[in-house]
């Protein structure tokens, strides 16, 4: 009966109460399947391409796409770099087997290494960004001529800006972008993503030993609750601190949201004429032919 209490009680910001993040997985699954089906059709496309990393976000995306479009219309791409783990490969294949979509392996080691071969002082972030954009360019290539590239960035990553612009953050449509990481895990369990994939520490695997939570310096569980109250409930950072949230954590998350906002919007266009794309030439993307 906890769900009933969660629905009828007052929602208070409480660092020890994650219950406001709970979702109705059956309803969410239905809405996302319809979203993929409808928006793919509106783009006049019929297939979906998903970068399947072995992690939970892309597993959920590929599973939902298989339900929406039929598994035969979903292409999963596992794009390993030389430091990618065997576990990731095994998990990618496991998801493909379970949900029936085709998984192809397209290694990216050669082209990434060739590009950086004679360049000096290259830090790991640059290599990581290059890998993310290499992968996305392959997904877009393989989407031609009738496929749509599905995004796998969740709401936590989008809000924190924890992703590579025009890399993993790029897509035609993104079914999971309004689900926090903890909500996405909940959905993953209910649609049958294997436990080992749901429970392992999230990683972008851009360098050996990288995990999201180490790099960010906080856990998804903590970040999601802070983001939920700041974004969904429109509370101010000071309100959260008053209710016992860690002041440094709240300040850091708020700053990441602000600093990385540029990644979430289209590039700025210099306004010159009487009517300008993005400013006052405002048509819906689902603009249909008559």
């Amino acid at each position: 009966m906890t769900n009933v209490l969660a629905r009828t009680g007052v929602i208070r910001p409480d660092p020890k109460d994650p219950s406001p993040l709970r979702i109705d997985e059956v309803l969410v699954r239905k809405m996302l399947v319809l979203f993929i089906r409808d928006e793919t059709a509106k783009a006049r496309l019929r297939r979906a391409v998903v970068g399947v990393s072995g992690g939970v976000d892309s597993a959920v995306t590929a599973a939902l796409a298989s339900e929406a479009l039929g598994a035969k219309n979903v292409l999963g791409l596992f794009t390993p770099y030389r430091n990618s783990s065997e576990e990731s490969r095994a998990h990618a294949h496991e998801v493909s087997r379970k949900f029936g979509f085709t998984l192809e392996e397209v290694p990216i080691t050669e082209q990434v290494d060739a590009y950086f071969k004679d360049r000096k002082n290259v830090d790991k972030v640059r290599v990581g960004n290059k890998m993310a954009r290499e992968r996305k360019s392959i997904e877009y290539d393989r989407s031609w001529p009738d496929g749509i590239v599905l995004g796998t960035s969740n709401k936590t990553e989008l809000l924190l800006g924890y992703g590579t612009q025009f890399g993993d953050m790029a897509s035609g449509i993104n079914p999971v972008g309004d689900l926090y990481k903890t909500q996405l895990r909940e959905l993953a369990i209910s649609i049958g993503i294997p436990d080992a994939i749901v429970r392992k520490p999230p990683t972008a695997e851009l360098w050996v030993g990288q995990t999201d939570e180490d790099e960010l310096g906080f856990t998804y569980a903590d970040a999601d609750l802070v983001l939920y109250h700041l974004v969904d409930r429109r509370l101010r950072p000071a309100d959260l601190i008053d209710h016992g949230f860690d002041a440094q954590l709240v300040a850091r998350i708020r700053e990441l949201v602000r600093r990385n906002h540029y990644k979430r919007v289209m590039p700025l266009i210099a306004k010159l004429s009487l009517r300008t794309v993005g400013h006052d030439f405002l048509y819906p993307r689902d603009w249909e032919a008559d």
């Binding site: 629905r7 109705d24 969410v28 030439f281 048509y283 819906p284 689902d286 603009w287 249909e288």
Partner: protein, 286 residues
């Protein structure tokens, strides 16, 4: 007397008037075949909802020849459908027309244009300025387009003016997926429909659309709620459906005999209160 109403819970194409006209003709045919006397389409059913700058491209006068197919189709069945109306002074309105026996008999222009959150109506449209009732075979009726219904005064004014039916064509986006309940928007709408129907003793005919526009899902769930609070008919969520429901024109009288809230309503007090607050002259007549 019983009047059959058909709800066309459809998914209009965005900005494609000709395609939507064909779609309407098809649904009108099905409604007619099922014996309905009125078929009600959702808000902006002939154009789609999130039009942005497309609003000006698809707008037409209420008597524009482009709408003639709807008028023609209304010879044997009344039709309530939504379009972008360009007024004589070139304002754009979200409008709902009622066609009967080949003629347009009523146009309601959406008064309350939500311009917040995911809504931007006020950027692209001008507001209507009246809530007028009209009559057809089903009885005296008022139209509340989507946000109009969320304002308590709208159904109140209609009921006070004698309406026994409130038609609410909507384009309601589904949101709120918290555990332990229905879709948040669905809960709010059902609460409204049932509350207005029971406490104003009117029929509420809530007509929502389905499908997606730019990532936003319209959730459907159209329904007819009777003045005794019973749900006469309800459409599924998210799927297209033609839903039929009977309006019992005598039920309003029976309910009002039992529950004479409207008879006892003190409009003079309401008016005096508001007039006083706004500093308007109000003369008592007793």
């Amino acid at each position: 007397m019983s009047v059959r109403i058909a709800i066309a819970q459809c998914a209009p194409a965005l900005g494609a008037l000709k395609r939507n006209l064909d779609m309407h003709r098809e649904w009108i045919g099905r409604a007619k075949a099922s014996g309905a006397q009125l078929v009600v389409f959702p808000e902006l059913s002939l154009t789609g909802y999130y039009l942005k700058d497309l609003a000006a491209d698809v707008a037409c006068a209420a008597d524009d020849p482009q709408l003639t197919p709807i008028a023609e189709a209304s010879r044997d069945i009344d039709i309530s459908a939504g379009f972008v109306e360009r007024s004589a002074d070139a304002k754009l309105h979200i409008a709902q027309g009622h066609w009967s026996r080949g003629k347009l008999v009523n146009v309601h222009r959406k008064v309350y244009l939500p311009t917040y959150g995911i809504f931007d109506d006020g950027r692209y449209f001008g507001p209507g300025d009246r809530f007028d009732t009209y009559s057809w075979a089903g009885g005296t009726t008022g139209v509340a387009i989507c946000e109009d219904l969320w304002h308590v005064s709208t159904p109140y004014l209609y009921a006070a003016a004698g309406a026994t039916i409130v038609l609410c064509p909507s384009a309601s986006p589904g949101r709120g997926v918290a555990e332990g309940g229905d879709l948040g928007t669905a809960e709010s709408c059902r609460l409204m429909d049932r509350f207005y129907a029971s406490y104003l003793t009117v029929y509420v005919v809530y007509v929502n659309r389905v499908g997606h526009e730019d990532g936003i899902a319209f959730w459907g769930g159209s329904e007819i709620v009777a003045p005794d609070g019973t749900v006469v008919a309800r459409a599924p969520e998210f799927d297209e459906a033609l839903v039929l429901g009977e309006i019992d024109t005598e039920l309003v009288a029976r309910e009002r005999a039992r529950n004479p809230l409207l008879r006892d309503e003190r409009e003079d007090i309401v008016l005096r209160n508001i007039a006083g607050r706004l500093g308007l002259p109000f003369e008592r007549r007793d």
